[in-house]
Point group: D2
Chain length 257, copies 4
């Protein structure tokens, strides 16, 4: 069988993008367009007619819109039998239940909702949670550009909670620390008992290091992100997976296994 | 119930050490002695009577001896119904089969044989193998003291093979590399298609970094080892686990899950 | 004296940009425009009239053009009594002598020609040259995106030469290295006796680490560059300094002291 | 001239060690003994007769004793015309003036007193002070074993002060930081306006990173110390230099140029 024949037998996935003119949406359009196994069939934004996506035969819709329209979008997609990959924020437990309800009536449709499509960030958190139970000590150092408003970052806080939960489950007590004489703040913030340090400097983008230590050795998991384009491999991974995962999938974790 | 009562209900594990006067064995003796849940009941080395360990009621034996005596030690331990944790090298497939045969006749006995008891190194390799399928690029940089004879290190070579296998399984092709004009050696050694760089400098001990990259982001897994004491948490983990894992367990991986 | 009065007494530097529509030139225009102590008075590119810069009263000209026009530009600037900051490449010893000749006749005019306006990169090299004589071991690890054609990078090669020269001057012999058993390339390229390792991975931009080691300690100097905007602080530094440095200045080094 | 002849013309430096049985003193004895250009001629400790060092013809004395005896030792050395390298702590301005007074009467004698003989640490601080004026942002991250009592470390505090002074001299204002929403401590301790983060973990020894950032780039200076043997190259450097530097020299800085 020739390459051409093979190509012709695997149909590209027909993808529509909602929020196509937003920063993330535009990036998704470029990434889908560049992917050999996908066709970008619809680009929809405010003022456009949602049915365009259905008319164009979209099999998967990627939604990077806003919390006020995403629920309507999702209900419509599920009704149309179109699977969806969602990066829009603002999903409460209540909203998730509503999505689950819609999906029950359409057993063939899949929806992936993820707070973070960065594969590197998701793996960093997975590995940190796995390593946590084997090391006496752990600290988190996140580093970001100085325009950031919160310290520590949401990702660092989330990582600290995962690590703390894994330590608790493994029966580990507090990390050893003999500090007697501390200039206030030197030892960082405490999130569920895990110390988190937030560095801010011009020139940085978004970086995080999770440092584990035990007798005579340390293990460090570090993630460096330079660009929102870094979310695209995760979005494409979800687009490829969503049709074969009926129901609601939360987070990229399940797709990475 | 008071603490004292609780302590009295969990009996410490009775541990014997073979090769107790060697560098690793001596470290194991110290570590077992310091562990609250273990009793060091026998220290055996060349010229000592192996039966001391049985007489002292050892439930688990740790063997850091030499390839020429380890098989006799193991056969004796299994016969006595004593579980064993083995860091001695030189295990061929044939030797492992022989151990499996002895264990079949003693269904309650467990044996853990591991080439590397460093939890950090083992996790680094596990994580690297897991991450490998999700990143377009990967390279390994290992750094050691300048007295080391081989380059790259055994751990780096092993990691490269694990990573290459995971890439192949995921259908990933070669890593992108436009290098046209190379000073010989600049791009490192190639192990199963994975580039490995070996740094040697006074002041270094044993370090390894696995760098993964995809669009706009990198993920780095780094292990720093300063001391052979770093193997002790892995040895103690195996001592705690071996009695409840009948049969032969190869490597720490299974014990870390 | 109020802030406003103070501002009015320090006149902004009047700056013209040659090659204003090129990638670097455009960045320079933005940087000059944003600098509180500079006025962007002329943007000149192919097809534009060079005299515009003089007519607009430029005191300093920044030249990011091409080797075939830069000498004409420089001769004209010096004739006009305009100081120049030059990032264009292709300066041979012969060309530099010609510039020196022109400058002799205009004692008030300064010219700064620099191959690298990245302050971080220049300091990295300065510090590496200074540290080199105090450490038994040194290796260089550079990391770049996989579209790069040469390995190692020009900066890494230049750093290696500086380091080698400093070692020779201090009477240091070869770095210790007991490697007997090497997979070809593992120990990197050798540039004047200094080992250089070139890592290539998607997601990387331009990074370099110089690792020094002696008994029980290492010192690492690392530079990470994400964007050509990183050259702008160096360009602005040169613009501020050039009028008070008559004659020819080569490289940013002298301006950083 | 043969090697042997050459050797015979350069006389080894005759070195005595005071505090020879202390942890640092013992290390110094080993280092002097191993140095090809030095002879260890006297090892003196509590209860030993100080005149042994003079009788043995010591030209340089290394003092790692205690604050209560170091002044007597120094006065005696200077009187005897023996130069001294001092790592003992507790030198106030008053004590230093006293040493200067003794030295005035012995113009040929040199004394080097240094709080830190780690060449790597001293260079890290020098480089940090030099880089400080060229970067908008700077933060310090120090990492130590968890038995350390103070946070941040003395070296980190000292580095922060040097950096702050260099920034002030260069007219740099506060580092940019938009943080609005901080979990207490996340942004570290503030030492003269410089943020310092102290990480504590089992497995770490003594490490420090100074991170500088400006538009699109960062420069990182990192020091890793694994062992007190790391102070020996600095001690030997001072022994070699002290006889040709009459008077009092404070710190290693001057010897590194």
């Amino acid at each position: 069988m020739t390459d051409e024949q093979e190509k012709s037998t695997v149909e590209p996935i027909r993808v529509g993008v909602l929020g196509a003119r937003g920063r993330m949406g535009a990036e998704v359009c470029r990434a889908v367009d560049a992917a050999a196994d996908m066709d970008l069939v619809a680009m929809v934004d405010q003022g456009d007619w949602l049915f365009n996506a259905a008319d164009a035969g979209a099999e998967v819709v990627v939604d990077f819109t806003t919390p006020d329209v995403v629920m309507d979008n999702l209900q419509w997609c599920i009704d149309q039998g179109i699977s969806a990959v969602v990066g829009t924020t603002g999903f409460t437990e209540q909203r998730l239940d509503q999505v689950r309800g819609w999906l029950e009536r359409k057993p063939g449709v899949g929806v992936v909702i993820a707070p973070n499509f960065g594969i590197g960030a998701v793996l960093m958190m997975q590995f940190a949670a796995r390593a946590a139970r084997h090391f006496e000590s752990v600290e988190i150092i996140e580093q970001h550009h100085p325009r950031k408003l919160d310290a520590p970052s949401g990702t660092a806080t989330h990582t600290a909670r995962l690590v703390a939960a894994a330590r608790a489950e493994a029966g580990l007590g507090p990390t050893p620390d003999a500090t007697k004489d501390e200039v206030a703040g030197a030892r960082g913030a405490e999130i569920d008992g895990v110390r988190v340090h937030a560095v801010r400097a011009t020139g940085l983008v978004a970086h995080q290091e999770v440092l584990f230590g035990t007798l005579g050795e340390t293990l460090t998991i570090r993630h460096d992100s330079y660009d929102r384009v870094s979310f695209m491999p995760g979005v494409l991974l979800a687009v490829r997976a969503v049709r074969t995962r009926p129901g609601l999938t939360l987070g990229l974790d399940a797709l990475l296994d």
